[in-house]
């Protein structure tokens, strides 16, 4: 019963998009820079095949073999495949529940062909789709984990309902995947960093970070910022963050560990000394997982690079270095 580490290749999207790494390069980078062996994949981001060979969700035996060769070559293990369920596939209507179940079944099949033990189901996929796809999940031997993602909380009825489906149906094939972003207070670290880059007073930015950690409310902080002469854009950003940012007490994990199959190690800004993530509490959740003997992967999901993807943003984040730092912290927390 041990916590293992991995990386979601989503973390290297920018390096991939700009042609510096291909899929194999991403896998190699995980192993060489972090020592971790768990690989999470958004298939639609880095597909194994494309037209004219095969178009997602289809894959040929050749594509499957290619994936297995890569796993063997680098000694890596598939941990989770990220699913989407495009309910807005067609303009003017939401896909029917049965169509969404079909989409889930296609993802479950693809995941099983590639050796993934579970798929990430987006937070907003309705429970009737999860329940409807349960026979297929059991048939393919792939677990469906609904992501507990900001702005959700572990004790929201929506999430508890998923836990209840699992227990009521006595099935491990449906459960939860918490995203560490739910253990964040205030604005994401990358967004704070972006403010500094775009010319906000660094003291004001640090004030925002510290104030949220001290549990001041958005309104209080925004009011204070106006007095401090912060830019209007900064104040608006703080006010708007109320919707997304709901801090989850890590203790909420305790009663759900039986239905939690995987974690997204979401982060946006690792400090240079690798001591901690700027705004996300990794220490307490990991302590709880260790105490409970939870078994599974924490899969780094770096999202900080996207803060700097505005057309005129002069800064570009170093994804590989950020993930490296993340694993330095994770390893330390696991051993302590």
């Amino acid at each position: 019963m041990t916590i293992r580490l991995g990386v979601s290749l989503y973390s290297y999207q920018q390096t991939y998009l700009t042609g510096q790494l291909d899929l194999e390069g991403c896998i190699r980078t995980v192993v060489e820079t972090t020592g971790a062996t768990g690989i999470e994949l958004i298939y639609e981001q880095m597909p194994l095949e494309r037209y004219p060979d095969a178009v997602y969700p289809n894959i040929t035996d050749k594509g499957i073999s290619r994936w297995k060769e890569l796993m063997d070559k680098y000694g890596t293990t598939p941990t989770c495949m990220d699913s989407f369920i495009d309910s807005k596939l067609y303009r003017g209507r939401i896909s029917t529940v049965q169509e969404q179940i079909q989409m889930m079944e296609q993802d479950l099949k693809l995941a099983s062909q590639l050796g993934f033990p579970c798929i990430r189901v987006l937070a907003l996929v309705p429970p009737e789709v999860l329940e409807g796809a349960l026979p297929a999940a059991e048939y393919y031997g792939v677990r469906m984990g609904q992501e507990v993602h900001p702005r959700f909380a572990l004790n929201d009825e929506w999430m508890l309902n998923v836990a209840e489906i699992s227990r009521r149906r006595n099935s491990k094939y449906v459960g939860l995947i918490p995203d560490f972003g739910i253990f964040s207070k205030g604005l994401p670290g990358s967004q704070l960093n972006l403010m500094k880059i775009m010319g906000e007073n660094p003291d004001i930015v640090d004030f925002i970070e510290v104030s949220f950690k001290a549990d001041f409310s958005h309104k209080e902080i925004a009011a204070q910022l106006r007095q401090m002469g912060a830019k209007e854009a900064t104040v608006i950003a703080v006010e708007r963050s109320a919707f997304m940012n709901r801090y989850n007490n890590p203790d909420l994990l305790k009663d759900l560990l039986d239905v939690i199959m995987h974690f997204h190690g979401k982060f946006t800004y690792m400090k240079e000394d690798c001591s901690e993530e700027l705004t996300i509490n990794y220490k307490d959740p990991i302590r709880i997982l260790k105490e409970a003997g939870w078994d599974g992967y924490i899969s780094s999901e770096f999202e900080g690079q996207r803060a700097y993807h505005g057309q005129n943003c002069p800064y570009e984040e170093d994804e590989i270095e950020q993930v490296r730092r993340h694993h330095v912290m994770l390893n330390r927390l696991l051993k302590s």
Binding site: L17, G19, I42, L122, Q311
Partner: protein, 142 residues
């Protein structure tokens, strides 16, 4: 949400288009999907190009990816072909004379992908580029 706004357009990919009989029939630009994954073509929700104040809505554009061209509204039911992450798609804008009024043309491109989450109508990612028509290359369509 400005996903991939930095990468959506490379101004160097903008070219005037010359027809077989030598007339400038428009210009083309290339787009990277403004999303962190590929999507079925039917999921392109909004697409427009503005040249100065002139708006070209998607119904006037031709969208070409993997060598196949599509128009609206037909593309709205194409689900078995995709715009893959990182794959440049060509958008043809049927502006008579192409981009030829100097000195600088201001082009704005908006594009959004109809993902299932994040609100009812995802706001388009908008990119603005300034183009010097004198420096544009031209491509001949067959």
């Amino acid at each position: 949400m400005d996903i991939n706004q930095k990468y959506m357009i490379d101004p160097k990919d903008i070219r005037n288009v010359v027809s077989r009989d030598g007339n400038r029939i428009g210009f083309e630009l290339q787009l990277i999907i403004p999303y962190y994954r590929g999507a079925a073509l039917s999921m392109i929700d909004e697409l427009y190009v503005k040249v100065g104040a002139i708006l070209y809505p998607k119904e006037q554009l031709t969208f070409t990816v993997d060598g196949f061209s599509y128009t609206w509204p037909q593309i709205e039911t194409v689900t078995t072909f995709r715009w893959e992450y990182g794959t440049k798609a060509t958008v043809f804008v049927p502006q008579q004379g192409g981009l030829d009024v100097s000195p600088i043309q201001h082009i704005e491109v908006g594009c959004s992908i109809r993902r299932s989450y994040g609100g009812r109508f995802p706001a388009p990612v908008v990119v603005k580029v300034a183009v010097d028509p004198c420096k544009l290359k031209a491509i001949r369509y067959q």
